[in-house]
């Protein structure tokens, strides 16, 4: 398919990526999903995880710590809390994310406990599977 979609990845501090992509895989709150051109308008929160952007033969990966994604037929925008290219996701950094998630869990109120625990889980997976 010749169709392309506009992909933007922004964090509060800077714009990390803005490119034409064929598909974007992202860690949705209720399961991983892939956004392709002409996707129905969709809004989802994101878990900590890996974003894979496929553009032609190039694949770029980013580690994000949560946020949300806005998908429209024309493209996808990810507003990440914190994001970094996978190459920069060192063991130390991922470990710091994990520690922070754990600290948040300690302090979490009862209603937020479940969500915080899930975050710790996700960060743990991120740490184990993707630390370089």
């Amino acid at each position: 398919m010749a169709d392309k979609m506009q992909f933007d990845l922004v964090s509060p501090e800077r714009k990390l990526a803005s490119l034409e992509a064929d598909q974007v895989q992202l860690p949705g709150a209720e399961g991983d999903m892939t956004a392709m051109p002409n996707h129905a308008p969709f809004l989802t929160t994101l878990r900590p995880g890996l974003v894979r952007v496929v553009a032609g033969s190039e694949v770029t990966e980013y580690v994000i710590t949560g946020g949300f994604a806005e998908i429209s037929p024309e493209g996808a925008t990810i507003l990440a809390e914190e994001a970094l290219p996978k190459a920069e996701a060192t063991k130390e950094k991922l470990e710091a994310f994990l520690e922070k998630a754990k600290a948040d869990l300690e302090q979490a109120s009862d209603e937020a406990r479940e969500a915080a625990a899930l975050r710790v889980n996700d960060h743990h997976e991120l740490f184990i599977r993707h630390a370089v």
Binding site: V10, A29, E30
Partner: protein, 291 residues
């Protein structure tokens, strides 16, 4: 009448003051550019966030199960004022104008019999408010060690506000900062963070029918705290740019004043030098005539 030597010393000292203010002006100009760049870089995120939230909030505002961050805690008895100022002075009326706006606001709330709590960010504002409102201080955030404003700072401040709100420590949260328009124009602004307010017309443009996952309200509940952090972050960045802008124009003025003073002192110096020569000449001539 000061002696020639005194005048010369004074000229020298004003000259070195001018050098310092000139240097500070240039440093402020460089920092301003950096501050503006980071404010620029943060804009896409904040705008997107607001657009999405505006859309969501418009739908949820009337629903009885809307998140508390949106509809408020049902009372407005206790107000938290976050007063963001600079860590340093020598920037004209920058700190004073923010503090003044916050003080006016606090006093009008107190006059209405509300409870006021104040969280200060930056020590200059704290110093200025200490005299009249020290009893209302609940905390202070020190940013003096930080080279530049990071999202983590804003996140911490937002966290304090959100936790307090969740525990019912306050009902309304407002942040005071200075909005950056230009180097010579910064506007002290009060922005209400909790309950969240959205521009009524913000949702008109993006009235797409989204599918939501999880449902709208869950997303809204997830996004609102983030939006608070984003707003604090934007405020801190604006504040940073304003501070440097204010410092730049204050130092520019100081440099110009020093220049004027040097001119004036130089004229005075030359004049008294001439007077001294004239009187010496008169002495010599009248001495010669007396012979």
């Amino acid at each position: 009448m000061p002696s020639l030597k005194d005048l010369k010393n004074r000229i020298e000292s004003v000259k070195s003051t001018r050098k310092i203010t000139k240097a500070m002006q240039m440093v402020a100009a460089a920092k301003l550019r950096r501050a503006q760049e980071s404010a620029e870089a943060a804009r896409p995120y904040a705008e997107r966030m607001e657009a999405v939230l505006g859309n969501l909030a418009a739908g949820a505002a009337n629903s009885p199960s809307a998140p508390r961050l949106l509809k408020g805690s049902g009372s407005d008895e206790t107000h938290l004022l976050i007063v963001a100022t600079a860590e340093r002075g020598l920037c004209g009326g920058f700190n004073a104008s923010i503090a003044k706006l916050a003080r006016t606001h606090a006093e009008s709330l107190l006059a209405q019999g509300k409870t006021v709590k104040i969280l200060t960010v930056g020590k200059k504002g704290r110093e200025q408010l200490k005299r009249t409102l020290a009893d209302h201080f609940v905390g202070h955030v020190d940013l003096s060690g930080a080279k530049r404003v990071e999202y983590a700072h804003a996140h911490d401040i937002a966290h304090t506000a959100l936790n307090g709100f969740a525990k019912g420590e306050f009902d309304v949260v407002t942040i005071f900062f200075s909005r950056f328009h230009s180097v010579i124009n910064q506007e002290p602004t009060a922005l209400q963070l909790i309950p969240a307010v959205f521009d009524a017309d913000a949702d008109v443009g993006s009235a797409t029918n989204y599918e939501y996952e999880p449902e709208e309200e869950a997303i809204l509940a997830d996004l609102l705290p983030r939006s608070v952090a984003t707003q604090v972050f934007t405020a801190l960045l604006e504040n940073g740019a304003s501070e440097q802008g204010a410092r730049m124009s204050a130092m520019d003025n100081a440099t110009r004043n020093a220049g004027e003073m040097i001119d004036k002192l130089t004229i005075e110096y030359n004049r008294s030098r001439q007077a001294a020569i004239t009187s010496e000449l008169i002495e010599i001539i009248s001495g010669a005539e007396a012979l």
